[in-house]
C-alpha cells in the first residue's frame, strides 16, 4: 500500500495495463514525449515506444474515431481528450458510432475502448477548460460512464475500463489530480464498473455525489458531524452509467432524506435522474423533499475568481445543504 495522488494512480493503471496486454495503446494530443497536458502519460512513451503511445494531431473527433476503428478491429485503445470541454467535436462519433456499434451490428462486433477526459472547474480555467460534460453521455445506452473520486478507485476502475468489452467514458476530476491523495494497493487489482461505494456511513441524510463532489461531500459530512452531530451517509456513485439503483435506494431507505450534489449545471443534470429514481421507487421512504445542489444554470464556468466561486459547489455549501435538510 502506497499513498499516491489521483493522477499517479491513473498513470500506474495505464502502465500496468500496457504491460499486461499488447493490444492496449494510448493516443491523444501530446500523450507521447510530453506525457500529456496533465502528465498522466508521463514516462510511458519511454517505456512503450511511439507505436503504443501515439501522439495525435489536434483533432478530437479523430482521436475518438480512430479509437473506435481500432477497437472494432481488435485493439484496446485508451483515447485521451485533453479537457472534457474539447470532447464535443467527437460527440457524433461517441453518440452515433461508439454507443451504437454493438447494437447496430446485432452483436457482430463491439467497441472495447476507453475515452479519458479531465473535467470540472475551480481551476480558473474559464469557460472552455472547466466544464462537466457527463450528463451528455449518461443519456446513451451502450456507453458506460465512470467518474472516480479516490486514487484507489481511479486505478481499479481504469483497469476495469480497459478490460471492459464496451466503450467506457472515464472522466477524471482534474482539480483533484494532485489534491486528492490516498492509499493504493501495489500491483494488479480492479474495482468493478457498476457498484456505487458508501464513502461514509450515516443515518440522517444521504448525500449522492461523484468525482470531485464526492470528495467534497465526504469533507462536508465530517464538518456537520463535528459541528452539529449530523450523521450524513455519502454515496460515491463512481459509475454513472449503468446506474446503481440498488445502492441509491438502499441508502435512502435508511435516511429518507436525499441531497444530490453535482458540479454540472443544475437543470437536466445527472442529479435529475437520481431524483427521479428516488421519487419513483423510494417514495414510501421519503421524509423530506429531494434536494439538489449543483452548478447554476449559466452557460459556462466564468473565469474571474469570485464569479467562479459562485459557480462552484464546495464543502461549505454542501455542509449548509446537509444541515438544512437534516433540520427539515
Amino acid at each position: 500500500m502506497a499513498e499516491m495522488t489521483l493522477i499517479q494512480a491513473i498513470t500506474q493503471a495505464m502502465d500496468e495495463e500496457l504491460a499486461r496486454d499488447k493490444r492496449v495503446f494510448i493516443t491523444g494530443e501530446d500523450v507521447g514525449p510530453r506525457g500529456g497536458v496533465f502528465r498522466a502519460t508521463m514516462g510511458l512513451f519511454d517505456k512503450y515506444g511511439a507505436d503504443r503511445i501515439v501522439d495525435s494531431p489536434l483533432a478530437e473527433l479523430s482521436i475518438v474515431a480512430i479509437g473506435i476503428g481500432a477497437a472494432v478491429a481488435g485493439l484496446r485503445p485508451i483515447c485521451e481528450i485533453q479537457f472534457a470541454d474539447f470532447i464535443h467535436p467527437a460527440f457524433n462519433q461517441i453518440v452515433s458510432e461508439a454507443s451504437k456499434m454493438y447494437y447496430r451490428s446485432n452483436g457482430q462486433w463491439n467497441v472495447p475502448m476507453v475515452i479519458r477526459a479531465p473535467y470540472g472547474g475551480g481551476i480558473s480555467g474559464g469557460l472552455y477548460h472547466s466544464q462537466s460534460v457527463e450528463a451528455f453521455f449518461t443519456h446513451l445506452p451502450g456507453l458506460k460512464v465512470v467518474i472516480p473520486s479516490t486514487p484507489h478507485d481511479a486505478k481499479g476502475l481504469l483497469k476495469s475500463a480497459v478490460r471492459d468489452p464496451n466503450p467506457v467514458m472515464f472522466f477524471e476530476p482534474k482539480k483533484g489530480y494532485r489534491a486528492i491523495k490516498g492509499d493504493v494497493p501495489e500491483g494488479d487489482y480492479t474495482v468493478p464498473i457498476g457498484p456505487a461505494r458508501i464513502a461514509r456511513v450515516g443515518t440522517d441524510v444521504s448525500v449522492y455525489a461523484y468525482g470531485m463532489m464526492a470528495h467534497y461531500a465526504t469533507i462536508a459530512a465530517e464538518m456537520v458531524a463535528q459541528s452539529d452531530g449530523i450523521a450524513a451517509e455519502v454515496v460515491d456513485l463512481r459509475t454513472l452509467l449503468p446506474v446503481d439503483k440498488e445502492a441509491i435506494l438502499n441508502s435512502f431507505k435508511k435516511t429518507g432524506k436525499a441531497l444530490i450534489v453535482y458540479e454540472d449545471n443544475l437543470t437536466m443534470g445527472y442529479g435529475a435522474e437520481v431524483a427521479a429514481i428516488l421519487a419513483n421507487e423510494g417514495f414510501e421512504y421519503m421524509d423530506a423533499p429531494v434536494r439538489r445542489l449543483a452548478g447554476p444554470d449559466v452557460p459556462g464556468v466564468p473565469f474571474s475568481h469570485d464569479m467562479q466561486e459562485f459557480f462552484m459547489v464546495n464543502p461549505h455549501k454542501i455542509a449548509d445543504a446537509i444541515r438544512d435538510l437534516a433540520a427539515y
Binding site: P57, A65, I66, G69, A73, R104, S105, Q108, G142
Partner: protein, 328 residues
C-alpha cells in the same frame, strides 16, 4: 499487374448484374410498400466501382467500409442476398436482425464494416481500422467509399490527414456522382477536382477514373492496393459516376434537365452495357452466357425476396434489448 481472365471478368459481370437486379427490385418493392421506411439509397449506376474495389481485396484479410449507399458492396463482397433483402425488410434473418435496415448492412466475416448514415462519419473509423492493421503488421488494407458530398466536411479532412501522417494502408475512393444530395459538386466544393485534396494530406492520388468502366476502376484500385500494402501509405481515387435513382428513393427532384442528364448517362455510360459490349466484342457467342447470367441473377433476387418475406419480423422485448452491452 495481372490481366483478369475471362472467368474473373464474367464474375464481375455477374456481380454487377446482381446489384442492378437487386436494386431495381428494391425500388419496386418500395413502391409496393413491401420494403417500408423512407430511406433507400440505390447503387444503380455505380456498380463498376464497388465490384472493382472488391475485386482488388483479399476478402477476410482486407477491410471495406462505406456510407449509406451500401447494398452494392454487400452483394459484391459476397454477403448472402437473402440476408441483405431480409435486412431491407427489417426481418429477423437480416444482416443485423432488422435493427439496421437499408443503410446499416454489415458482415463481420467479410470485414465489411458496414454502411453509415452520418455523412463522412465512417471515414475516421477507417483510419482507425487501418491503424490496427499497421499496429498488428498484418499487411491488410482498408478500402473506404466516400460520397462526393462527404469530401466537404471535417471527417474527411481529419481522416485523410491522419492516414497521411501515419502512412496508413487506407484506400480512399470518392464515388463522385455529381451531387451531394441535391447540390451539384461545383456548388459545394471550392475545388471540384476532388482527388487534388490528396496534396494537402501528403498522400498519393491518381487522375480521375471513369467509374463506369470496371477495367479502369480495377486498374486504379489495384495500383492503390499495391501501394498501400507495400507500406507506402494511403491513396485517394476519384471515380466519376452517376446515380440512376436520385439521392434516395424519396428523391422526387427530377426536372426535365436532370432527366435528360440521367438518360444520357444510361444511354452512353451504363457500366453493365459497357462491360457487356466489351465482352461480346472480345468473345464470339458469349451473348448466351451473359443472358444466362442475367436470368440467374434475376432468380437469385426473386429467391431473396421470397426468403425475406418468409422471415419473421423481430417482435420481442428480448430482441429490442439484445446487444446493448457486451456482458463480460
Amino acid at each position: 499487374m495481372a490481366t483478369p481472365n475471362k472467368e474473373t471478368v464474367l464474375e464481375w459481370y455477374r456481380q454487377m448484374v446482381l446489384i442492378r437486379e437487386f436494386e431495381e427490385a428494391c425500388q419496386q418493392l418500395y413502391n409496393e410498400k413491401r420494403i417500408t421506411g423512407v430511406y433507400l439509397h440505390l447503387y444503380s449506376g455505380h456498380e463498376a466501382i464497388g465490384v472493382a474495389a472488391v475485386a482488388c481485396m483479399e476478402v477476410g484479410r482486407d477491410h471495406i467500409i462505406t456510407a449509406y449507399r451500401d447494398h452494392g458492396l454487400a452483394l459484391a463482397i459476397g454477403v448472402d442476398p437473402n440476408k441483405v433483402m431480409a435486412e431491407m425488410m427489417g426481418r429477423r434473418d437480416g444482416t443485423s436482425g432488422g435493427k439496421g435496415g437499408s443503410m446499416h448492412l454489415a458482415s463481420r466475416e467479410h470485414n465489411f464494416w458496414g454502411g453509415y448514415a452520418i455523412v463522412g462519419g465512417h471515414l475516421p473509423l477507417a483510419t482507425g481500422i487501418a491503424l490496427a492493421e499497421q499496429y498488428n503488421g498484418t499487411g491488410g488494407v482498408v478500402i473506404s467509399m466516400i460520397g462526393d458530398g462527404a469530401t466537404n466536411n471535417g471527417y474527411f479532412h481529419e481522416a485523410l490527414n491522419m492516414s497521411g501522417v501515419w502512412d496508413l494502408p487506407n484506400i480512399w475512393i470518392i464515388e463522385n456522382n455529381g451531387y451531394g444530395m441535391g447540390t451539384a459538386v461545383e456548388r459545394a466544393a471550392g475545388n471540384p477536382i476532388l482527388h487534388q485534396r490528396a496534396l494537402g494530406y501528403g498522400i498519393k492520388d491518381l487522375e480521375r477514373v471513369d467509374g463506369q468502366d470496371v477495367f479502369a476502376m480495377y486498374e486504379a484500385v489495384q495500383a492503390a492496393v499495391e501501394h498501400a500494402r507495400a507500406g507506402y501509405g494511403s491513396v485517394l481515387i476519384e471515380a466519376i459516376t452517376y446515380r440512376y435513382r436520385g439521392h434516395g428513393v424519396s428523391d422526387k427532384q427530377y426536372d426535365s434537365k436532370l432527366r435528360e442528364e440521367l438518360e444520357k448517362w444510361k444511354r452512353e455510360k451504363d457500366p453493365i452495357t459497357i462491360l457487356r459490349n466489351r465482352l461480346e466484342k472480345k468473345y464470339k457467342d458469349i451473348a448466351k452466357t451473359l443472358d444466362a447470367i442475367d436470368a440467374e441473377q434475376k432468380a437469385v433476387v426473386e429467391r431473396s425476396i421470397a426468403f425475406a418475406e418468409a422471415s419473421p419480423l423481430p417482435n420481442t422485448y428480448e430482441e429490442l434489448f439484445a446487444h446493448v452491452y457486451v456482458e463480460s
